[in-house]
Amino acid sequence: MTFTPTELEVEGAAGGEVVREGAPVPPPASGRRVARAFLRDRAAVACSVYIVLIVLMAVAAPLLVKISGYGPLEFDQDAVDPNLGGIPLGAAGGMGADHWFGVEPGNGRDIFARIVYGARVSMLIAISATLLTTALGVVFGLIAGYFGGRVDMVISRVMEFLMAFPALIFMIAVLSALPAENRQILLVLVISFFGWPYLARIVRGQTMSLKEREFVEAAKASGATSAQIIFKEILPNLASTIIVMTTLAVPGYVGTEAGLSFLGVGVVPPTPSWGQMIASSVPWYAVDPAYFLIPGAFLFLLVLSFTVLGDRIRKLLGEGTA
């Protein structure tokens, strides 16, 4: 893709080799064995813990902000030094008992509160985009793979066309041309619009090989309808592929949202988002490094966790697909 980067730049995170098209579908691994192997993998567990923490943080944002004492939109002029152009008072960007992660230079907004609320925005957009992409990718992939012929040709051409696009720059073009209302919904729609072919292509390939198998023939012979065969016979066999692709897609979308917000076409201020926080820290990086380091570290660790997790799950669910 990719912000692809077609990946111009941000999309890079989604790169790497993916599940091969038309590869033999491995038998479904037993759930308990996979779970046990997963728990023994320290990196995977650490990543899951971090992701769960961020999700909890996002869910409990109002509560956490009540405990810390400052809201994400509250200005605190007492925490910055007006004589020095608004640099936070105190060491490390004004960190202390009052403001846990310090404050923004200039207007003194609490960084902890903005991180917590930013997690909400980032996770909500990334997860919604993933769900929508997965739904579109699976449905179109199944239809193209199962019915073949003209239907397949049309869907495949559309997919090729979308994948030939430099997605990032088109997202920017679309978002910059659209009005600023409902940005979050628009972000999800635009990201999914350019994202679904990557999953659909793989689902299509595997469906094509699955529909030749004996159990599908048996179902056909016993009078099952196409819908029954697609959803009851073929779909369950695609579960592991879909899980892997989905986990690997989330970090890409987290990065894309942050990148678009960084460029000023994503989440509109004053709503906080991690990418947008980093963007507003650019003029201050030399005097107040904590301002970009904190959201930068949160974002990096989130993307890393999802990437590592996706990688590990892929290995666990069968070397065959890797």
Binding site: E7, G12, P166, A177, F262, L304
Partner: protein
Amino acid sequence: MIRFVANRVLGMLIVLFLVCLFTFVIFFALSPDPAVQICGKNCTPEAIDQIRANLGVDQPFWTQFGTFLSGLFAGRAYGTGPNAIDCAAPCLGYSFQSSQAVTDMIVQRLPVSATVAIGAAVLWLLAGVAGGLLSAVREGRFADRFIAGLTLTGMSIPNYVLALSLQFLLVVTLGWLPFPQAVPFSEDPLQWFQNFLMPWIVLAIGMAAVYTRLTRANVIETLQENYVRTARAKGLSPGLVWRRHALRPALTPIVTIFGMDFAGLLGGALITETVFGLNGIGKMAADSITKNDQPVIMGVTLLAAFLVVVGNMVVDLLYTAIDPRVRVGSSA
């Protein structure tokens, strides 16, 4: 072979046409009225209508699209009479905010973007292929796992975070590099080189990670092919097997993605150029977003799409020349 090439070129032209149409629809349907922008405040509805007529934006959609397409090949003029603005042959549009043709603006900034892209490409290709080969040779051992960790990190770090961190570390804290300043190469080659060093590294790290993984996977897969086993069984020396039987087929797929990635980068690295203040196409596009200068965004979008689509095709054709298996596969 000729039929194959003709097919590919035709397919590319169709995609390019659709890209133009799609882009035009986006900006036709969604962008604010340019006439209102030009007219500014204190504007009467009559004046707006007049400007609209001059620009041709009161015409129906297909007429406007036709004018736009012919502008791409033959140039066009905005407005009529003595005040008409001339836009020469590949006319990508006209920025009324900076009173300049978009094509000229792009051409002025192309050298910077090209320098960024070429330097980064050299770095990531070298690092990616070397890392991938090393991983493949040492599969499962310490070096392999270490590189795997590095690539995961490199893939996950957003490039603007990396850019700011590097700039803070190398410029502010350690003082190894001077603050970026725009200097031409002829004036101060050292400063010029130092300006581009960080953008090159930042862009290369994410890409190198992807290329390392790809190279590793390809090499390991190729080594399991039957013809490699045959070559080994014949008693060829390991070095010869590697060079002649494993590397070439393993590295050809890299060429494919490299073409696309490089072409995409030529169209401007928006984030990196912005963070480092390099006056290339990417920074121009990013600035135009803030200024809401639609013609420039549209022009850069078209350019980027054009580069990717053409790059894709060139690589496809090269690839066919290198690896005859593709030809057979595509005609089936």
